[in-house]
Amino acid sequence: MISRRGVVAALAVLAVMAAPACSRRSKVPVPLPPQPAPTQTQPPAVPPPPPPPQVAVEDLQPSSPPLTEDSVANRSLDELNRNSPLQPAFFGTDSADLDDAGRAVVSNNVDVMKKYSQWVVTIEGHCDERGTAEYNLALGERRAVAVKTYMVSLGIGPDRVRTVSYGKEFPFDQAHSDEAWSRNRRAHFVITAK
């Protein structure tokens, strides 16, 4: 049987340590996801297809001047990732397969990576909120793996690409709509070394 005396003492220490960080900031109301109809017993309906990925890609990119080789080479990793030359690839609902548009995006990113041969990237797989939190970790990983597999097939060394899944933890768009969900099903490229 464990000693609970130590437990209480340590908890007290923990509480003291945690106290300054626990001050709450203004609470942001979190909207409820749409409620399911109580009588609905069918499997989730297939939503309409997402908007064309190119549209979303443009939306996601902050306006930035055309990149020149020098401007890219001289930028810090943070600056690079804030205005990344690597575009996100988007996925269909419940899919971990790259469609033609997704392959085109990844192919362009591969061209950039071939130009900057020292770059190492992490592919982040993300999901929309409609799957469960746990399964989305696997699904996000599968999306990232699909991108990595395609990049390797185009000649990028596998050691230059790491994969990570964020499941539905970091939605790009916090809204609860088909459009938001289509933006959130994505593989996001992060340059981690140059």
């Binding site: 209480v8 900031r25 609470k27 109301p29 409820l32 499997p43 989730p44 939190a133």
Partner: protein, 461 residues
């Protein structure tokens, strides 16, 4: 089964001896059996109800023996009432109906006739004395009909957390009266974004998520990670002294084990791949988890210190969400091998991944299996029902499924209490995503968290 006759004095002494190692800050030297003046050679220790009905318990305010003990006395009696009500082994007479009963200042004054009029089968009498930062709590449980003391304890210790005295009392009464392992001293762990901090980095709209723990009833919520990063999928070690979780502090998530009462942090996966959803084996020596280290999400098992990593699944689909059987010989997990976006629950042997079987046959979507403790033999999971999710339970012996929640919001991530009678889960029914608990029969819903969004609950032993 609850009518065994026992010699009272010997039982109390044995119970007190057992309590020494359980009690925080308790000085064994101050403990003594009370109620020893009861001279009957044999008494009935288990209090029954009328005609087989659940016994009716009353928990009046404990008596504060000093003015500065008043708050602790009130807290202990209220929390004791809540703890006893939570397990639903007894009927708890509402405390706002006690006004007709004269308050007793000593055990000799307990007005048994008045309690009987109120229908009580059992009544507590407790006193709380405070000396500086310590309190002494003396408690008796009376059989109202026989007016005999069936349970008597004295505790002394810190005055900092009066709730813990009530929790200990509730657990000991459940054990003595119902042979039940109560959950009053267990804890929950979960993920929360309540501080509304933003990740530092090139992407602006990402919220920090930290691991929290709380008492089983939601009291004493405390943060145990301070990384200002993403930390998810906590689970408890069987000794309830450690929480394992995935932390993205070094980009690729690693499994950390936080010895929460010692302030020690261990990195079990040591930077190899991305690693998620750690769960301790029932004996605490191993951890099952999901990793991409071989290029695809698969189920692995490693020793608690990260050594001896073994891969249990090998399939191009995604395999995740492992949970151990109570004996540790099998692992249930989620796989989308029949279709992306259509995960189902499977089972394998934990030694080598052999004997693969699919468990969920009639679900469009099934995830986050959680194996119940004995004596129940069932798996709770998140099931797709309409656009969102509900908690369901699969009885492994009969294959029957019962639904626990019914589309009030989306309901996910069930986790069993250590006695199997309750489930923690998340729901969107009350604004944001919050942790709730509910009985395994679907009754007794209780909201645990209210601040920010709170997800992925785990329930300690």
């Amino acid at each position: 089964m609850h009518t065994t006759r026992l010699r009272m004095r010997g039982t109390i002494l044995a119970a007190l001896t057992a309590a020494v190692s359980l009690w925080p800050g308790l000085n064994p030297a101050t403990m003594q059996a009370i109620g020893g003046q009861n001279q009957q050679p044999e008494i009935e220790l288990v209090i029954g109800g009328d005609g087989g009905a659940p016994p009716r318990y009353a928990v009046p305010d404990f008596v504060a023996l000093s003015p500065d003990a008043a708050e602790a006395a009130r807290t202990i009696s209220q929390v004791l009432w809540d703890d006893l009500a939570f397990e639903r082994e007894f009927y708890l007479i509402p405390r706002d109906t006690y006004s007709s009963v004269p308050a007793a200042r000593s055990a000799e004054q307990v007005p048994f006739a008045s309690w009987r009029e109120l229908g009580a089968d059992a009544v507590f009498f407790g006193t709380v004395q405070r000396t500086g930062d310590t309190v002494r709590v003396q408690v008796r449980l009376f059989n109202v009909r026989t007016r005999q003391t069936v349970f008597a304890k004295e505790y002394s210790g810190t005055a900092a957390n009066p709730r813990l005295y009530a929790h200990t009392l509730a657990d000991e009464v459940h054990l003595q009266q119902r042979a039940l392992r109560g959950v009053a001293r267990t804890k929950l762990s979960f993920v929360s974004d309540r501080n509304r901090e933003r990740l530092v980095g090139p992407i602006d709209n990402r919220e920090v998520k930290e691991i929290y723990i709380s008492d089983y009833d939601g009291a004493n919520q405390r943060r145990i990670t301070t990384t200002r990063q993403l930390n998810i999928t906590p689970s408890w070690s069987p000794d309830a002294r450690a929480v394992a979780y995935s932390s993205y502090r070094n980009v690729a998530p690693q499994i950390f084990i936080s010895l929460i009462y010692q302030g020690v942090l261990e990195n079990a996966t040591k930077g190899i791949g991305s690693n998620y959803m750690p769960v301790f084996s029932p004996d605490g020596t191993k951890i099952a988890f999901m990793s991409n280290r071989d290029g695809n999400p698969e189920i692995y098992v490693m020793n608690r210190d990260g050594s001896n990593v073994r891969r249990l699944t090998d399939h191009p689909a995604g395999d995740g969400s492992p949970t151990w059987s109570p004996t540790g010989s099998q692992i249930a997990f989620t796989s989308d091998r029949t279709g992306t976006g259509r995960p189902q629950i499977y089972i394998i042997n934990s030694a080598d991944g052999s004997n693969l079987r699919r468990l969920t046959m009639n679900e469009s979507y099934a995830d986050r299996p959680t194996w119940s403790p004995a004596p129940f033999n069932e798996i709770a999971y998140s099931a797709g029902t309409g656009a969102w999710y509900d908690v369901k339970v699969l009885d492994l012996a009969t294959g029957t499924v019962r639904q626990i929640t019914f589309s009030e919001g989306s309901n996910e991530s069930p986790a069993y209490s250590p006695n199997g009678k309750h489930l923690a889960f998340t729901s969107t029914r009350a604004g944001g995503t919050q942790v709730f608990t509910i009985g395994r029969d679907g009754r007794g819903l209780k909201q645990i968290t209210r601040s920010g969004n709170n997800t992925m609950p785990a329930w300690s032993q």
